[in-house]
């Protein structure tokens, strides 16, 4: 019989490993956050920040909120991606490839076409519309994948492609019929940006995002088991249907709200969970909180690149993430073809 001593080489999955991962990633977020706050069209000048009200306003009303916004959107998309990958047992799943971003985009476009400012008891209508669109897309993809998965490998991703096509057609149609100023607004929003003025929108987003993060972290044990297989998870005591529903709703809310604010920023939910897996192992109880932190770091960095790479021209952050994410997707696809069906 083998004893613990003999298998000492095995990685220990313990709280210690989780905290070590989180500490490392927190440092990463802080370092990149500091760099993003410092660098830009004008580098940060501490003396001016103390004396010059204009510089202070620029920092606290523009740069700081922008970095925080990047962190929020990055965290949300990454943790949603990690959860969707586990739920669908597909490493290529993420909000953009599954069409969830597209669905959220349709909802948000409709809301924009009818007027930005509208609120429903303090909640921006565009959040709710984004959530509705994202949820519809998740449910549609889930249904298609479920009915077709046995017949057609890769049905899930094909379903995502189809939903995305429908979504972009719908957004195009909405743009076409909306009046020209609104159409331009939709176009600017689709390109995707984490630009924001002040903290107003951020507080409103946090109201939705924080409960969603907490919910996904609380479900990390169930997601870890679901990643092993639906029947296995069920036999280990997971209420599979209830979990699926909860994860669908939570991920739709995360994606819907972030898409409504930041536009289509793709591939964050693909790259980040994979990077966390490579660094810290497959255990979802580490991958989920790890993705939350690394997602923030990743989008802060992507936005920093977008702002500074071709300064004074600013690139759309969605383009930066897609330029990194596309090749990563292809690499994963190539690697995955070696050992199993999609």
């Amino acid at each position: 019989m083998q004893t613990l001593a003999q298998t000492g080489v095995l990685p220990q999955v313990t709280a210690v490993r989780l905290w070590r991962a989180l500490a490392l990633l927190a440092v990463l977020v802080l370092v990149l956050g500091a760099a993003a706050l410092w660098a830009g069209a004008r580098t940060l000048d501490f003396a001016a920040l103390r004396s010059d009200p204009m510089a202070r306003a620029l920092f606290f009303r523009l740069r700081l909120p922008r970095v925080v916004m990047a962190a929020l959107i990055g965290s949300s998309l990454a943790v949603a991606g990690a959860a969707l990958q586990a739920l669908f047992r597909n490493p290529l799943a993420e909000p953009a490839t599954l069409g969830v971003t597209g669905g959220g985009g349709v909802g948000a476009s409709i809301a924009i076409a009818f007027g930005w400012g509208a609120r429903f008891s303090g909640i921006p209508v565009v959040f709710l519309a984004g959530f509705g669109g994202a949820l519809a897309a998740v449910l549609l993809v889930h249904r298609i994948a479920r009915s077709g998965a046995l017949l057609l490998p890769g049905a899930l991703l094909l379903a995502g492609v189809v939903v995305n096509l429908i979504a972009s057609a719908a957004i195009l149609a909405i743009q076409y019929v909306a009046d020209s100023s609104r159409a331009l607004e939709i176009l600017r929003w689709i390109i995707g940006s984490v630009e924001v003025i002040g903290f107003d929108t951020i507080w409103r987003m946090l109201l939705f995002l924080v409960p969603c993060w907490v919910a996904l972290l609380a479900l990390s044990r169930e997601l870890h088991l679901l990643a092993m297989g639906e029947e296995t998870a069920g036999a280990l005591g997971v209420n599979v249907e209830r979990c699926e529903t909860a994860i669908h709703v939570v991920c739709s809310l995360l994606v819907g709200v972030t898409v409504a604010v930041g536009g289509a920023i793709g591939f964050v939910g693909l790259i980040v969970p994979h990077a966390v897996r490579l660094l810290f192992g497959e255990d979802l109880r580490i991958v989920l909180p790890g993705s939350l932190l690394m997602g923030a770091a990743f989008l802060i960095a992507a936005d920093l690149v977008a702002r500074t790479a071709l300064a004074p021209i600013e690139l759309p952050v969605g383009a930066v993430t897609a330029l990194i994410g596309g090749p990563v997707f292809l690499w994963l696809l190539h690697r995955r073809q070696r050992y199993s069906a999609l």
Partner: protein, 258 residues
């Protein structure tokens, strides 16, 4: 002998389809190794899923130890009943130890990781199925047979009273098929494990199994001790195959189809 798992007039059909399990009543005796046989599509897997609590019967009920299964909380049930599904491919390169440790999940509180005791238990389970050497390997790199042994080890790590296996030997070679049945028989003898095994390996049933249930068209056609069920007449009817022949030889039953 008392039944640990019991189906009472159980009926089940998948969404809007015809009944897959029709009015089955049977009891899996405590501490016995039972086989569930029958032709493809006769409802064996569905019946086992009903016993595992993964499906709820449309009519009748399933009882564990005299208590209706649906009234037992899922995580409590997972400490008593373990289920190994038909071979499944894993999407993520978990290590073998990680997979087997999920068997400890019913015993682990939310926001907690498995402790050393759980690790010992998982490694013991791996050793029981002769797969301790795989502990650090990635499941995606294993052969189908090795993956199957890992799935069995995961179920054993649940320390269940009752083990349900759905065609565990499908991906196994001759040696490992026999070894798995011997392992189950040894666990029955050493710690009184109850096991219900869906199998097409009829020749491995006698003499290691204690009991055989034969299903056809979703209904229980015959049950009894292996040598009572594994006969030309019963098997011919179960499989609707007049060519089935059996012969008792040195305490075992040989089966073939002409």
């Amino acid at each position: 002998m008392s039944a640990i798992l019991e189906a009472r007039d159980t009926e089940f059909s998948y969404a809007s389809g015809p009944a897959v399990v029709r009015g089955v009543s049977l009891g899996v005796a405590r501490g016995q190794l039972s086989a569930l046989i029958g032709p493809n599509g006769c409802g064996k897997s569905t019946l086992v899923r009903l016993f595992a609590g993964l499906l709820a019967p449309a009519r009748g009920e399933v009882r564990f130890d005299g208590t209706p299964l649906r009234s037992i909380p899922r995580r409590e049930a997972a400490k008593r009943i373990a289920y190994v599904p038909q071979a499944t491919a894993l999407a993520f390169p978990f290590t073998v130890l990680e997979v087997v440790l999920t068997g400890r999940s019913p015993y682990t509180a939310r926001f907690r990781f498995e402790d050393d005791r759980d690790r010992e238990c998982a490694l013991r389970a791996l050793a029981t199925v002769d797969a301790a050497h795989l502990a650090a390997r990635r499941v995606t790199e294993l052969s189908g047979g090795e993956r199957q042994m890992v799935a069995v080890a995961r179920a054993l790590a649940q320390e269940p009273q009752c083990l349900l296996l759905d065609e565990p030997s499908a991906a196994l070679d001759l040696k490992h098929r026999a070894a798995l049945v011997r392992t189950l028989a040894a666990l029955r003898d050493s710690r009184g494990l109850t096991a219900l095994v869906v199998t097409h390996d009829l020749h491995l049933i006698d003499p290691l199994f204690d009991h055989v249930f034969a299903l056809r068209g979703g209904a229980l056609l015959a049950e009894g001790r292996p040598h009572e069920v594994l006969t030309d007449a019963v098997l011919g009817e179960v499989y609707d195959d007049p060519h089935v022949r059996t012969r008792r030889l040195e305490g075992r039953t040989l089966i073939w189809s002409n």
